[in-house]
Symmetry: D2
């Protein structure tokens, strides 16, 4: 089989870093271009000293140039901020490249909703219309045929996978959903800022952007499709003093038709059936609860179901690695599908514990 | 003024350790006895090397003996497991000592509820009947006259202070409360166990005991008193990779009479009024959110109010130091009241940041 | 006694933050001015939300103005970068204020050495000539009479206190000293930078500036005075994933006259005698070793002595809190002396453990 | 090629855990037996929930039985305490199995030295005599023919690789070596103990066993072979609040013949030449220093060389992942060699950063 040539636009952030790690271990994909406006001209290994003696360390960072990317890549990963990805992503699609965009620019199907939450005009509505939301458990077939996969946000990945079976099988009241999400610091990016300094985060914990985080419309968009009706929910992120990982504790109310004594069994069956063919989603045995370390460095989304009989609630927990499953690993999975490879190629990774 | 002589039964745990720190800095209280069955006979400084050159380091650890405590102490702190505290606490009360019990043995007024959740028979119903729940913001007057103060649990302290004004002023639906609580590891105690080893906790995060934690009936007991009706809620703890602190994110539904446009103002007024005389409770300005580091080592309970207008919810956040405000500091506050001192004596501490 | 009015120039860094904490708990000192060019005009509590309900939170940040400081302060702490402190410190001294400078500007007595290591011209040689190196265990008498105390660097505090008795008593070869120092991240300051982001530091460890750190000439200056001859040593700092603390492991060779069988006893006696009157220095019992947590938030310098008989070495370990003992706490101690107070006023603090 | 059947004796510790991760990703090796006396009979996935949907999770834990291992394995990894490994290792060798012993039992060639440091009689001198020290950079050829590879300790791996070229090329004074080593907590094992609880380690740092650690004779044994004379050095370990990794800072004195101006160049050449064929050892460019995160989860040993011209010292830094390179990964490398596979099979891993 031919080796897939991959371009990585925006190599200096944490998602870029993680893409390098994953493609380094991928049996059928190789990095041919890594770009950064700031670091162009430097060897990649001088920016990432941990790449000595690894293949990708030998690359030289270049400016992101669409023609150059088109000439040297089969698929391009965009690990750059929203807004910037919009223009470059569309240009690359028009040149016939397969594009996996890790920004938010092509995730929200409704242009107005995107513009309202992201405060940017969407200038590429045509490409937006043909983009596919890159969550393989929902859209594998369409991703395989897409020219641009809009790689889901990290919080949405954890939330949608957790709620998908419950809404699909009408187990819960779709109007009463609260997501309490906790993320590691890598989710905040690699730009120096006071709020992500070690001494501001370590040995501490805090909430932020309660009810106002930009991932909210993305979660609601996908859950509304699943539920067959508009879903409005309360999404509330927190910042954990860990490098990687998102754990979401999701509070839902059992639907009227679900009786308590059989609720857990019914829920388990629905989840097991929904994810029967999805080896990346792991439904934990009753009593087990997810832990961030159990998914560190992997594509797994660990899900647990808990019934709180005292308040008639189904509590759903999900854990992912925000950089791997929630960003770069999922991007590779999408690229696999778009390039005709099995979804899991290069991604059957065991967690790094401890 | 006379110096209050304090006894500390159970010095080897984290709450014992924190009591030593606080009493060391207390202007009117001095440790005269520290006990531990395992370490009896050793100088305290050999167990706690950080006490060199501090006054309490010179103490010798003794066996917990009621007569000896009665002869040498005015007030005794019990920092021992539930069950053990029940017997010793009652014995000390009968000897005329003032007792602050940091265990759960005298917190639950209903004997049957205690026995159901703690799987232990309560053998001291008479002392239980006269014990006062040691949350100063609710019961300062009664604590001042009590012979035994049942020091609140760490999670209940954070939860009750957060919900007290909302229920007292009928701002929320008392039947729809979800507490998502996150605690530092010191809350799990100092006994060696696999689950609290550094490598099992560090760089990770998990939930535990969802809907089943023993602090649930304690929270419900106090909130039911405030609400004037039985409150059943969903309480869900998580374990943070930090030493100290509890942050609770509490999801409530606005009561029917509270209209969205004025909800935040009304809520702010209710909280400000309720805590007008309570300098340990800090209602943060709109937009600010609590952080664990801001209360590290202090008696403060930081509270923030957030309206989620999209789902008609009032989200209440509270942060405390689980060892200081949630255990040993609150115990000293109760002892202050019981000994006729101002509540804040020795407890006006600024946080250690970073 | 009159309350000492203190000014704090440069409140927004970690040493400024720590000064606020310490002065907040000081019985005879009160902040009257806090300055920051960037934040002037804002209430201090809006920059430091953890100061709600504390006295210093009510201050308004002002521009650093020498006349205003002279009119409203008895003593001024300079917590600003070197270079800037030089000019302002000299101006304040000329206005008759007592100054404690936490920068490096007045630590190096030799102008040329300062200029070589700090790459800045020293424009205030007269004030430099009268400045006193603010290490109380060495210079308490002179500090008490000084108009400007040059507060020692964090690494030098830990290193000099560790080596002082060994050199004073000729226990070691002064030409064969290696200091392997490990510091928490707060020592790197509060300005946003890639290298101190949580995800670059957490769960990692590294050395930096080996043999080239600017604290080297400061350490050598003081040790040379003690040894009575020029001392050149190897000083090598490392960055720990902790908030606070410096632990130095210092490798020395026993002097020819010291025989192995009695070396430990002789060393212990020398250290005990040297620090007999210094309650902030704690010589640990044989077998005990310092830990950063044991000095967290305190003025203690914990010292342990270990003989390695296989290689004829005396290994000296010292641990301090870099922000308290290594900066702001030591600054308050110096201010105490300069204002006629006992050294320990407001500084007899027990560590926050855990 | 046939798949190599591997047995893992002692699956419940951190080295066992890491072996499972590495063999899971190995293209030519498969776990056929995992043993633990305590957990025998349980599915491996119930002990390690992070193995759901991974192949090794389906194994059932068994008692360690030599006959059963001999019947079902080609190679056996012993991840059990010293003493226990001695007996079982010898038994397995006698049954014709290839054995990689991760304990210390077969590392020290001199029986008396082993017994002096480990306080255990060595009852298998014959097997000891034929064991090969499993450091591939030194002994690859002999390992390939060995029946038992004594897998090096974590500290010795980092120390020996760092010092090997310097001693081999006579760059340094072999009588003046100080190793200041800092290790993550996983090196202390997975048995519950007070000293490795999260709250005793987090946000702290300490030295331990200075000059007395059991890895000392192992380091000296190998360095003496290289130096061609007896080497006695000072080895001093410290405990870092990180999960994985060892960073050693090694202080040496340049040999008389090495002149300062060319010392760095000479040293670089010696190291480059020594490790020319060893892709797991990465000699960093001048000015770069190793960081633990850069080797996390990998087989790399990163080495930096620094000349301190002021004290005529060569400072050598080395960083490894103590669990991977320092234990389980090196064990797999040894098994590769013993089974006729290329050293790097299954071990060309990129680090998990952040």
């Amino acid at each position: 089989m031919d080796i897939i040539r991959a371009g990585l636009v925006g190599v200096t952030g944490y998602t870029g870093m993680e893409l390098v790690r994953l493609i380094e271990g991928h049996p059928c994909m190789r990095l041919t271009r890594v770009t950064s406006r700031q670091e162009a001209g430097r060897p990649l290994v001088s920016v990432y000293p941990f790449l000595h003696n690894l293949e990708s360390g030998q690359l030289t960072i270049s400016e992101p140039d669409p023609d150059d990317l088109a000439a040297n890549c089969d698929v391009v990963f965009l690990a750059i901020p929203h807004g910037a990805a919009m223009t470059l992503g569309a240009a690359l699609v028009r040149k016939g490249l397969k594009v996996v965009d890790l920004s938010a620019d092509f995730r929200i199907r409704d242009k107005a909703t995107y513009e309202q939450w992201y405060k940017v005009e969407h200038t590429e509505p045509e490409v937006l219309a043909q983009a596919v939301y890159g969550l393989p458990e929902l859209y594998a077939d369409r991703i395989a045929k897409a020219s641009l996969a809009a790689n889901p946000g990290c919080y949405p990945t954890a939330a949608i996978l957790a709620l998908y079976p419950a809404l699909k099988h009408d187990l819960i009241d779709s109007a009463d959903i609260v997501i309490d999400a906790k993320s590691g610091v890598s989710g905040a990016g690699r730009s120096p800022s006071l709020g992500t300094l070690f001494c501001e985060v370590s040995d501490s914990f805090r909430a932020y952007n309660l009810g106002k985080h930009r991932h909210t419309p993305e979660i609601e968009q996908e859950l509304s499709v699943i539920a067959g009706e508009g879903v409005t929910l309360s999404f509330n992120p927190h910042l954990l003093p860990v490098n990687r990982g998102i754990l979401s504790t999701i509070y839902t109310r059992l639907a009227p038709g679900i009786s308590l004594p059989t609720a857990l069994e019914i829920a388990r069956d629905a989840y097991a059936q929904t994810y029967a063919g999805s080896s990346f989603v792991r439904l934990l045995p009753d009593g087990d609860l997810p832990e961030l370390r159990f998914v560190r460095g992997t594509m797994f989304c660990d899900i647990a179901l808990v019934i709180d009989p005292r308040t008639n609630r189904l509590i759903i927990l999900s854990a992912i690695d925000n950089l791997c499953r929630g960003a770069s690993g999922q991007a590779v999975a999408n690229a696999n599908l778009m390039c005709g490879l099995p979804l899991e190629t290069g991604l059957r990774l065991a967690p790094l514990v401890p």
